[in-house]
Symmetry: C2
Subunit: 145 residues, 2 copies
DNA sequence: GTCTTAAATGCAAATAGTTTGCATTTGCAT
DNA sequence: ATGCAAATGCAAACTATTTGCATTTAAGAC
């Protein structure tokens, strides 16, 4: 298990114990940068450690999310997906056909939120923005009928 | 059943039969303007028609969504919610404490989508935007500790 | 009005993604 | 090494939603 132990300090800093399973899932998430379902992460994990359990994957991801190591979201009505807590604020552009996900670094909502706060008297603390469309590849395939 | 039959033309125009259950759900949705879960709509419906079945509610909503009579979405990781297909493009502002939903009519994404299309070569066809925060009422409650 | 037929519905069971209970194992401080 | 709380494996349970099937119903033709 090459990756075991790599994230021990990181986990300890977040008030968590460094377990084999946690290190494994962190290394998988670090390798696959885009959001993944719990099941997909589980399927990756059993390639390295066949004893890991799906419920453990869910539990680890839940704990990670609680400690702001990962974030959890979902796209349209799909399953929950998890990714490492982004270093910079970002959004997603998702191809509706092949499900490819492109990360978008620029956020256009700052002024909008300010004006919404003024007109609604809400305090806005978070938002969710995804763009959906078709990637170049899928546009070609769709155009061919 | 006062509302039975009110939406017969509307349903026929959308290629659907006018049933008691469909009319009832349409009238409930028209009365409650904000997105509702299937279960909540079911609970409202049985007040008028105790014979209606939850699976029928789901089926009706599914069919409505297919015919663009309603839209289906979900907020954060909550249950699916349904609302009448909005006459104008809109987004939602959701209070994270009391779940109150405010509809936002202005959409700030037009220019953003154009620039994303140019930088990614995607064709953007849809988006999803929600703002989350705290309403005035809940801000007061939170401030009181 | 009657008849026909495909769609819609009620009811109960099934599904799928996720969570929970409990016994056992493990990380980590001492 | 010891002790203890947290983490894990395994199987069962939960929850929101979907599905199968028999029955009912809307709507068009006549």
């Amino acid at each position: 298990m090459d990756d075991c132990g790599n994230y021990k300090n990181y986990l300890n800093e977040h008030g968590m114990k460094s377990t084999k399973q946690r290190n494994l899932l962190l290394s998988i998430l670090a390798k696959i940068q885009t959001p993944q379902t719990a099941e997909k992460l589980y399927l990756q994990a059993i390639k390295s450690d066949s004893s890991i359990n799906l419920s453990t994957v869910y539990r680890v991801l839940e704990k990670f999310t609680e400690k702001n190591i990962t974030i959890r979201t979902s796209f349209l009505d799909d399953k929950s997906v998890y990714s490492l807590y982004p270093k910079t604020h970002q959004h997603q552009l998702i191809c509706m056909r092949c499900k490819k996900i492109v990360l978008l670094e620029h956020c256009p909502l700052e002024d909008f939120e300010k004006s919404v706060e003024e007109s609604t008297h809400f305090s806005v603390v978070n938002h969710r923005l995804e763009l959906y469309g078709y990637c170049r590849q899928c546009q070609k395939i769709i155009a061919m009928g």
